[in-house]
């Protein structure tokens, strides 16, 4: 990041002089700001075409009405009112959407905390204990292994491992540790969290590792020389400097888990509610405006979480 911006924003004296003198004569020289726009342009276009415009459509459709077989382009808040149905009437009990979000957030926090813990230490190991660049590369690639299998394979693979008659249960029963197979190993919050951690720890490892390798080693030496213990160095030097990586990794994990419905569905035996699953059910029933309304709600909540996180760390500044 810093490299490209530096080049653009602080042109070499030659270039500055050149543009100042040459511009009035020859318009062919491109201004630095134009070049930066040109560089950012392709990404901006992709972002506009595949994110912003569809998002605008989603928001518009979320305020439409619908029947069994078509969208009715008239203003209606039905997608939203239906979603919050019973939220006041059922107090103090939570309504469907409330319960769903409590469950989603709970899963999200658990996955976030565990992936952060594991991801931090994996990155720490890669950055500070593995000296050779080749080994760092090789070991990072190893972390991508969970992505080599499809959902189907994972779904089928977990049953013989965690199932009632699976490897873990039969091992435990045979070793005499338990008498009855553990039911909560599969199709439970445990298995959902396990699968999500298994999948997404990598998203923590990469940015944290990236932050850590850029820490000037002399800072750590200085800390030791100044008499700091290993723990003090970690808390006062490494963690603050790895913060941008931690926040970026957290944003990855939180946004993915908040919207996930496949892993939660498969590993939770389709019995665990999630914000994504509500949207899926609605889409499958061809109730697009209701699905869109739920998508907007999810977006707002996720956006709030991210805003809160970026309050803690100013990512722009840290980069």
């Amino acid at each position: 990041m810093d490299t490209s911006e530096d080049i653009v924003q602080q042109p070499s004296p030659d270039l500055v002089r050149g543009s100042e003198t040459a511009r009035p004569v020859k318009a062919a020289r491109l201004s630095p700001s134009f070049i930066s726009w040109l560089q950012a342009g392709p990404m901006m276009l992709v972002f506009l075409a595949f994110f912003l415009i569809p998002l605008v459509f989603v928001v518009i459709v979320s305020f439409w009405d619908y029947n069994e077989y078509q969208l009715l382009p008239t203003f209606s808040g039905r997608g939203y009112t239906d979603t919050f149905e019973g939220c006041i009437a059922q107090l103090p009990d939570l309504c469907t959407i409330g319960r769903t979000y409590v469950k989603t957030l709970k899963l999200c926090i658990m996955v976030w905390a565990i992936t952060l813990f594991i991801g931090f230490w994996v990155a720490y190991f890669l950055a500070f204990h593995v000296k050779s660049k080749t080994w760092q590369m090789g070991l990072s690639l190893l972390c991508t292994i969970p992505f080599w299998t499809s959902n189907v394979i994972r779904m089928i693979a977990w049953i013989p491992l965690l199932g009632r008659n699976g490897l873990v249960n039969s091992g435990l029963v045979k070793s005499g540790l338990i008498n009855q197979p553990l039911e909560w190993l599969l199709f439970s919050e445990f298995s959902v969290v396990l699968a999500l951690v298994h999948l997404f720890t990598f998203f923590m490892v990469v940015p944290i590792f990236n932050s850590m390798v850029r820490i000037d080693k002399s800072l750590i030496e200085a800390a030791y020389d100044a008499g700091a213990t290993g723990f003090q160095t970690l808390v006062n030097v490494i963690i603050p400097l790895a913060k941008p990586g931690i926040v970026i990794g957290s944003i990855f994990v939180i946004t993915i888990v908040m919207g996930d419905f496949i892993t939660i569905g498969v590993m939770g035996g389709q019995q665990i509610a999630s914000a994504g699953k509500i949207i899926e059910t609605r889409v499958n029933a061809l109730q697009f405006p209701a699905a869109a309304a739920n998508a907007v709600i999810l977006l707002i909540i996720t956006f709030l979480i991210i805003t809160m996180m970026s309050r803690i760390v100013d990512i722009k500044k840290e980069l």
Binding site: Y69, T100, G163, Q270, R282, A285
Partner: protein, 429 residues
Amino acid sequence: MTETTKKTGVSRRTLLKGTAGLAGLAAGSGAITGFPYVMSAEPKVLRYLGTAVNEGDDISKQCLKDTGIKIEYITATTDDVTKRVMTQPNSFDVLDTEYFSLKKLVPSGNILALDSKKIKEFDNITPVFTKGETPGGKKIGGQGTAPWKVLYLEGKDSKTFSKTATEFVTLIPTVYNADTLGIRPDIIKRPISSWAELLNPEFKGKASILNIPSIGIMDAAMVVEATGKYKYADKGNMTKEEIDLTMKVMIEAKKAGQFRAFWKDFNESVNLMASGETVIQSMWSPAVTKVRSMGIACTFQPLKEGYRSWASGFCVSKGVSGPKLDWAYEFVNWFLSGYAGAYLNRQGYYSAVLSTAKANMEPYEWAYWMEGKPAEKDIKAPDGSLLEKAGAVRDGGSYEDRMGGVACWNAVMDENDYMVRKWNEFIAA
């Protein structure tokens, strides 16, 4: 076991939507691959949108051989088929879909009814579709979207279903079946005879239903009726109060830990049952066969309250006209002419024209699959793999007994929107 059952079962009504991977599996299992034929000068090509039930490679190969029509399969889950008809009506020619989705498809105006006069075997189509009774004269339960209620339109472009026979047929029937609970007799070790057993606390943590709201709730309704709690006027079209009542029963069961998991597609149901995660669950016939072919005891248990049935058929996209429409008729006529029917019957489904299918099956096959008699010889799947050893009898018996025992049909309710909301509440409970 058999590639075929896998192929055909993989995504009959599986919404499964979520898993792109699964769609990949359906594709990978061969349903839409492999057309080794060279195109002729003027190729007759039809794009065939449907679930994987009828989309066998053997069927398309035979069709090309017999008629010169090349079928290009577009395989999707039932919900995705409906979505595609709504949003991209020009992306297919022939549509193969379930009768219950007609309540959504017909008002959209995106499909074209077929002319029954151009269907050679139309008069030989089983009375299950036309009259709501078996060939033997048994009345079939009509709750839900029974095919005979939505078989005819009032006019060519009409959006109203006709109560009497007209020549405008919404869907030319192709395949159907009667679904019930699959059980593991080796684990349960006692006779099961009622839908009520699905929520019996004896099977706590070992039961499962479909994760398709409109079908799951009907299975639940079968349970509610079986336990004598309530009698529905029409399980396939509940009032809001009835939906509340049914969901309450389901939520209680879910909270008590009755369900191990809900399944969404063929393979999930097979895995749950084969691994012993569940011992009683709603299931499809070929899935039961598949579990059995793995050497695991599994019964497609007939129950005294009857079966929940489903049916699919052909229509064409509104964009189809001219020679393409002629090919579509040619294809539908070919489909009903026997080869495909026999192929479907051999997998445990039922074909629409029984006489032509019978002519394409061996007498012992017909006796086993359709008459409920003990198999004289080993019963093989269309691909030649062994399904049942000689002496076996089909679960539920004959066509008469199974179709005659149908209590209700897969449906879309008038209160569908409310039901879907309630389903989300059920999942969140």
